[in-house]
């Protein structure tokens, strides 16, 4: 039977592909940023799925998971810590992209990359 982790990983991969395709084909800057953030979410899902193990629970010790059982009942906390960081930085990156898009729009009154011709070769 397919495991939870594999299914989530497949969904994450599909999400990355959708975002990738979108970022390549869209012409509107804001739409490209949306596609980028989709791919970002996909990467997070894949990373968390890598850390998941069947039949285990969250790495937080409380009444439900005593310290003695930690080794056998807890999933891998390292990918979670990584993804947590990645999400926060993702927001910083998105905010930067949005600020630049806004700036470009103020200058050129357009968000269409086909009309931004200065750097075209």
């Amino acid at each position: 039977m397919i495991s939870l982790a594999q299914m989530a990983m497949a969904a994450g991969f599909v999400l990355i592909l959708i975002g990738f395709y979108g970022a390549l084909t869209q012409r509107n800057l804001l739409r490209m940023i949306v596609a980028f953030s989709l791919a970002n979410t996909g990467v997070h899902i894949v990373l968390v799925a890598v850390g998941h193990m069947r039949g285990r629970t969250a790495p937080i010790l409380d009444a439900a998971v005593p310290v003695a059982d930690a080794l056998t009942r807890v999933i891998d906390p390292v990918p979670q810590a990584l993804v947590l960081t990645a999400i926060v930085i993702g927001l910083g990156v998105t905010a930067l992209m949005l600020a630049y898009a806004l700036k470009l729009h103020a200058r050129k009154h357009t968000l269409d990359i086909a009309k931004m011709t200065e750097l075209k070769w």
Partner: protein
């Protein structure tokens, strides 16, 4: 007996999610999608609470609390955008 009822509740919640998703995809206006989004968030809160029950981890409820806040803020931001007040 109780297990069976929980199964039934989860199935009904899933069905509600699908219905709201239909409205989200169909539209037709942005406001319709916003209300579908709101309903999806509220269904999400129920789903999280159910998940906490199934896994027996009370700490998951904190996430539901954050959701309750988000469903409200999200709708207000978009409504203000729609009425050109942002």
């Amino acid at each position: 007996m109780v297990d069976l009822l929980i199964y039934l509740a989860a199935a009904l919640t899933g069905l509600a999610l699908l219905l709201a998703l239909y409205r989200f995809v169909k539209g037709p206006s942005t406001a319709d999608r916003v209300i579908a989004f709101d309903v999806l968030t509220i269904i999400g809160i129920t789903a999280i609470a159910l998940l906490a029950l199934l896994e027996g981890r009370g700490i998951y409820l904190d996430v539901a609390l954050v959701y309750a806040l988000l469903s409200f803020l999200g709708v207000i931001v978009i409504a203000r955008y729609l009425e050109r007040g942002l």
